[in-house]
Amino acid sequence: MANGKLTGSEIVLRVLREEGAEVVFGYPGGAVLPIYDALFQQKAVRHVLVRQEAGAVHAAEGYARSTGKVGVVLVTSGPGATNSVTGLTDALMDSVPVVCLTGQVPTHLIGNDAFQEADTTGITRPCTKHNYLVKDIGDLARVLREAFYVARSGRPGPVVVDLPKDILQGKGSYAPPPARRETHKSYRPQLKGDTDAVNRAVELIARAKRPVFYTGGGIVNSGPRAARLLAEFARKTGYPVTNTLMGLGGYPAEDKQFLGMLGMHGTYEANLAMHHCDLLIAIGARFDDRVTGKLTEFSPGSTKIHVDIDPSSINKNVMVDVPIVGDCATVLTQMIRRWEAMKYRPDRTALARWWKEIDGWRARNCLAYERTDKVIKPQYALERLQALTRGRDVYFTTEVGQHQMWAAQFLKFSRPNRWMTSGGLGTMGYGLPAAIGVQVAHPGSLVIDVAGEASILMNIQELSTAAQYRLPVKVFILNNEYMGMVRQWQELLHGGRYSESYMASLPDFVALAEAFHGVGLRAEKPSEVDDVIREMIAVDRTVVADIRIDQTENCFPMIPSGAAHHEMLLGPADRASKPVSEEGMVLV
């Protein structure tokens, strides 16, 4: 090291440390043996061994989303890299900063169909924010630093760095990073909103009579300041606030100005407020199809303001009137300053009328369900989970499906970075590895994966990871023996023909937990739920709780595909009167 020559592997570890990466989630293989050898001989960077590469990427996602830092993955060439594609696509869709180091065959063998060779850069090009193949050790440090910059800047996302084995083994000179960060030659996201646009927006906000704040994952990605500024602005104006699935926690859920989540399974009041508002203030959300429903009938009478750091999200699905490219926290600061400088005040009379209308919708109590002591209703299980974890230092992840929607409806988040879910891609099998990543980042906290029994089997092997590192994650399975969401759609759209949605031959989850050195618990009656939750929390080990829920329960409210916000179904009785249209049938 005196002459500045290090192996490629040593350079990799040096740069990881410089970039503040303390943990790497990975799985070894031939192409990455040099890095694993270097890892073994140092202590600054820790490695968490997963059991399948998808688990590594989801763990890095959970780590990143719960801390705001970049998650780091290390996988080998060929199948290691291809197994990570789902996780990378997930991170891209949900804007999670991940740097994924993939091994590759030596440079002279690339393109030769060598053992465990895959065209990793070709395969991951469309599913990453950017990717690199390092062909010269002189580029290695620069490329790695750039990868971290790209992953965390602007709209965060996954970056792959493909590392041929000869680069890792060869020696090259290493220079520490320049004292002052150079600006990137082409990629420089805009953080500050255009002043005229911001001023126009704030004037509209002041004059609105039926406004609503529609906020999403951008608030979480911007950092904790963004959530604080949103709360400050909401308090100053007194306006209602709704969150997307990805934005939960960006605004305190128990605040009286919160309308609940909006969208396909959002609350009645949130969706109707969006439909009937005269001013829609979108901050850090992208007008996803789960939120808008039928585009031609989405929020028909409103003027729309859209704050987003990604210019390509603006005017993509929904044409807006005041687009503002910028970072949420920066633009919110600009807006609050302008509001105060102009001494704006909301229209109190109009606002009182608007809130009265909203309270009328709230009175519908759209999340009500049939309470019974004969069978555990999934909503009941989640209500009890919320009650018994309220006020605690707790993080939630979920898998995908009905349980995910119920979790979004019934868990109440007061701050960001506490809710990790796969929104854009909807990846079953996300929750358990993500929970592992969260637990690694927050060793003393309570981490709960709300799962369905179908989803949990997709990455069940990660229970072994949890056992190895003594990560006391809690897997809370809402077990209805069906792929619930698929079954619900088959009931609604396909005449109740439950094709391949019944989960046959399920394992005994209690025995399974114990086989993986964990604790297994089961609840079959409502009266057993509280005890199971309490024990799950109290025991300092990995726990799998098998909660046997009502098999027939469907998730409401629901805006069927192709329908508009005001055509929401509120319960099973609603279905008969509103058949799904031909266009709706082809939508996912």
Binding site: R125, P126, K129, H130, G154, R155, S186, Y187, S312, M319
Partner: protein, 169 residues
């Protein structure tokens, strides 16, 4: 130009001259279902290692705005310029056209080439290869005229284009 709202746009993209950048741009178009009518690419600045990609695409105004926004957010992209929207610009194509004929038709093909200021870059006793540069319309017209005169093969570049005036991209 716009019936059912579809417009043709010529877009210039200044990118890093690095492996995979062209694949990335093309992947963007194919992945999102955008139209590529023609595409040319070459290095234009060796010192700064920059290439220029000129794409001829078509779509509704909203789609074209999306295309530009999606291109701009690619990491190796330095600048995106919509020449169709930004004002007067010069757009040219080059084509190599092989015509096989004899007698009257052979003579006529030479006359047509002369009218179009196309040069002969290959000749045998039974064929010519003409080189022609010009607007897309001019080249299309030349090819149409050559069809009855023994046209057998065409090789065309896409459009290259540059804004008029003194300001660079």
């Amino acid at each position: 130009m716009s019936d059912d709202g579809i417009e043709q746009h010529t877009i210039s993209v200044l990118v890093d001259n690095e492996a995979g950048v062209l694949a990335r741009v093309i992947g963007l178009f194919s992945g999102r279902g955008y139209n590529i009518e023609s595409l040319t690419v070459a290095e234009v600045d060796a010192r700064a290692s920059l290439s220029r990609i000129t794409i001829s695409t078509s779509g509704t105004p909203q789609i074209v705005e999306q295309i530009k926004a999606q291109l701009r957010r690619l990491v190796p992209v330095h600048k995106v310029s919509d020449l169709t929207q930004e004002g007067p610009h010069v757009a040219r194509e080059l084509a190599l056209v092989k015509v096989r004929s004899s007698g009257e038709k052979r003579v006529e093909s030479l006359r047509v080439a002369d009218i179009f200021r196309a040069g002969v870059v290959d000749s045998t006793s039974r064929s010519f290869v003409f080189e022609i540069t010009g607007s897309t319309d001019k080249i299309d017209a030349f090819i149409r005229l050559m069809e009855p005169l023994g046209l057998v093969e065409i090789s065309r570049t896409g459009l290259v284009a540059i804004a008029r005036g003194e300001k660079p991209i």
